[in-house]
């Protein structure tokens, strides 16, 4: 099964989650590669393609170009790499436009690696409906890193309960915060555990509030 990515953008910050599973092997973060000031995430059939994609990304000519130029430069290289073999390979390019505006591009073998620009979204095979619902419902509240992580983990928990993630995905979750001009910051396992605990508390509060109010109005 594929691994997946959830990326959230607000102001000048990108928060992203990846499950970090390659085939049956749990790992941490090996599918996220720094390329100059950008980050490239490899997803779906990572086990087959990661090593070869990393070789492409190590080219010197890719290390000092803008995010959109990097995405475009990867198109012919990935097409040559995969050739006509049926493939399930996705690549997400993350960076900062004009050095301040977060920007995400996606390329996938199913679309011949056509470059698509993404809004904050779920990438890599997970359904978007729970994500869309949370974005709509919580629209208007002040977004900060904690809020973005909370939303992402709520989605991850939901999809895990539905059986949509690889076994081991939750345990090997990696969450990163990317700010323009700064090094990527990975949350520690303790920080992730703390966020999950806070989310569980919110879910309990939500359940209690709904039970009290929906039943009282005759639901």
């Amino acid at each position: 099964m594929a691994n997946a990515i959830i990326a959230s953008i607000f102001d000048d910050t990108i928060v992203l989650w990846t499950d970090g599973v390659i085939g049956d092997e749990e790992f941490s973060r090996r599918n996220i590669i720094a390329v100059g000031n950008n980050y490239v995430i490899v997803h779906d059939d990572v086990k087959t393609w990661l090593r070869r994609v990393k070789r492409i990304l190590s080219l010197h000519s890719l290390s000092s170009i803008s995010t959109d130029k990097l995405a475009k430069a990867l198109v012919p290289r990935l097409q040559r790499l995969t050739g006509t073999t049926p493939t399930n390979l996705g690549v997400v390019v993350i960076g900062f436009e004009s050095q301040t505006v977060p920007i995400i591009f996606g390329l996938h073998s199913s679309r011949n690696f056509t470059v698509r620009r993404f809004a904050p979204s779920i990438i890599g095979g997970l359904p978007a409906s729970v994500w869309n619902y949370l974005q709509l419902t919580l629209k208007g509240i002040e977004q900060d890193v904690d809020c973005a992580i909370g939303i992402i983990l709520t989605c991850v928990g939901a999809y895990n309960n539905m059986g949509l993630l690889n076994s081991g995905s939750l345990k090997s979750s990696a969450i990163a915060v990317v700010n323009s001009g700064q090094a990527i910051r990975w949350l520690t396992p303790d920080e992730i555990t703390d966020h999950i605990s806070r989310n569980n508390h919110k879910a309990n509060n939500l359940y209690k509030y709904l039970t009290d109010n929906l039943l009282r109005v005759g639901f």
Partner: protein
């Protein structure tokens, strides 16, 4: 695609579906008929590919109309339904096969599914729900537990535990089903259009809820959407 729901309540079943169908090449329309009554107590609904879906539900209903004595128990209905659904799907896939023998991606991705639900009065005296979906070229027919959420089910599956409760009746079940339909249609473009609703109770058998009554329920539950949003904001930002 669509959203198909079947919920077990304390006094019966609620089945709901949206109207959106998708044919080939991502065409969609909101005019589909997805529910039919097989006999007094049992009904069938379909989701996914429109053509085999319609043909499947009409096929089982037509046979039940011609030979009602062969369709008196849920076991008899589901056994025959499985054969009909399988045959219709095989005819459909044969018709739409590509020159290399493969199927178009939209057929592989969507498939077709059926939910049969109702009161099995002549055999087990229980409310029963069955799900039959195309998996490759095979159709399984599985009896499922308290609810079935099919097709674009993910958001409904996430929200349902917050809504349902032990002892809820068909009256509450209808409100929950409609709420899930409306919320999903706002977040998933392949779900939408008028909502089809049906219930199965001992007193009234399988009954398709008229559009007017569905609209009344939609009006009744409007305050609940605000309550739900408040609940999320309270839980997210409050203490």
């Amino acid at each position: 695609m669509t959203l198909a729901i079947a919920i077990r309540c304390s006094n019966g079943l609620v089945m709901a579906s949206d109207s959106r169908v998708t044919g080939g090449a991502r065409r969609s329309a909101d005019i589909s008929e997805k529910f039919l009554q097989i006999n007094r107590d049992v009904g069938v609904m379909t989701y996914g590919l429109a053509e085999p879906g319609y043909n499947g539900i009409h096929g089982i209903v037509e046979e039940a109309r011609q030979n009602p004595s062969n369709f008196t128990t849920m076991e008899a209905i589901t056994n025959r339904a499985r054969t009909i659904f399988q045959q219709i799907y095989q005819n459909y896939t044969t018709q739409h096969q590509l020159p290399d023998g493969s199927l178009p991606p939209y057929i592989v991705q969507q498939g077709v599914g059926y939910i049969i639900g109702g009161y099995d009065g002549n055999d087990t005296a229980q409310f029963r729900i069955y799900l039959s979906e195309s998996k490759g070229n095979n159709f399984q027919m599985n009896e499922l537990g308290d609810e079935i959420l099919a097709a674009q089910w993910h958001l409904a599956s996430f929200l349902l535990p917050f809504f349902q409760y032990t002892g809820m009746s068909v009256v509450q079940g209808k409100k929950i089903a409609i709420m899930l339909m409306i919320i999903t249609s706002k977040c998933e473009p392949s779900v939408g259009g008028p909502i089809h609703l049906a219930t199965a109770t001992v007193e009234e058998g399988f009954t398709v809820v008229p559009d007017h009554d569905v609209n009344v329920i939609i009006q009744d539950i409007q305050p609940l959407f605000a309550t739900l949003k408040m609940a999320w904001l309270q839980a997210w930002c409050g203490e």
